[in-house]
């Protein structure tokens, strides 16, 4: 799928980072954008939005990205349950990165995202690439 035709859902509770990320996505030509402030709201709206890709923060209240992804994978609609997810976080600790990668995510980007890395991860995700972890 052409990145510029993708509908992307951003889940980020920090205003500066959300603005930066949405601006970066627009610079990449991605204009079909939705944004929510936490995983709980995003989960409630996911069947309406039907995104092709989700980019989510990890640490949010009341529902963070990891809990959001676990709920998403249990959604009855298989297409929604398998939407590729990229994590974006200032938390680069090995334990958090490993926990998310074990959930089968399409990428993990450390904040703030470099636009070239963001573009590469989005292209990979839309091609069905899943990041794997090797011990």
């Amino acid at each position: 799928m052409d990145m510029k035709r993708a509908r992307v859902l951003v889940i980020e509770d920090e205003k500066i980072m959300a603005t930066f990320l949405l601006g970066s996505l627009r610079r990449l030509g991605i204009l079909d954008l939705f944004s929510f402030e936490n995983g709980q709201t995003a989960l409630r709206e996911i069947s309406t939005v039907k995104p092709d890709l989700i980019i989510t923060d990890v640490h949010m209240q009341p529902m963070g990205g990891i809990e959001f992804l676990k709920h998403l994978r249990e959604v009855a609609d298989e297409r929604l349950a398998n939407i590729p997810v990229i994590f974006l976080s200032a938390d680069s600790s090995a334990s958090t990165v490993k926990e998310t990668l074990l959930l089968g995510v399409a990428g993990y980007i450390v904040k703030p995202p470099n636009i070239n890395i963001l573009a590469a991860r989005i292209e990979q995700a839309l091609r069905g690439y899943t990041t794997e972890i090797f011990d």
Binding site: I16, T19, F20, A90
Partner: protein, 124 residues
């Protein structure tokens, strides 16, 4: 005895770096407004949270600052924020209040630079 001349403080806000990352002057202007609001609110809040022993709450604010500050600032301040944020993670470092007290004036300097930049661009 000759006095050592005062060295001008190094500027913390790097608008060229920020613009190269954000890519749009209008968006950057909006983000600087958000940065000013965030620093004005969160920098004193972190001190109060630490004084009350609410380190996890202080960590959430420091974590957010750590995430966005590389958009606007040079590596020196980013490293300082990263170091203090790491100290606020469990197991919390006993040195955290002292470390944050040293960091706080730098964040206040950044806030002042943001205010000055926004005032300058408003009057230009």
């Amino acid at each position: 005895m000759p006095q050592t001349p005062m060295q001008p403080e190094q500027k913390l806000l790097d608008t060229e770096l920020a613009l190269s990352q954000v890519g749009d002057e209008g968006v950057l202007h909006d983000m600087l407004g958000m940065l000013q609001e965030s620093l004005a609110r969160d920098v004193p809040d972190i001190s109060q949270l630490l004084a009350r022993g609410e380190v996890d709450s202080a960590n959430r604010l420091l974590h957010a600052i750590k995430g966005f500050i590389p958009i606007f600032c040079n590596a020196g301040l980013c490293s300082e924020v990263e170091r203090v944020e790491l100290m606020s993670k469990p197991p919390h470092s006993a040195e955290l209040p002292v470390a944050y007290a040293a960091l706080r004036p730098r964040l206040e300097q950044l806030q002042a630079e943001v205010v000055a930049h926004l005032s300058g661009s408003a009057s230009a």
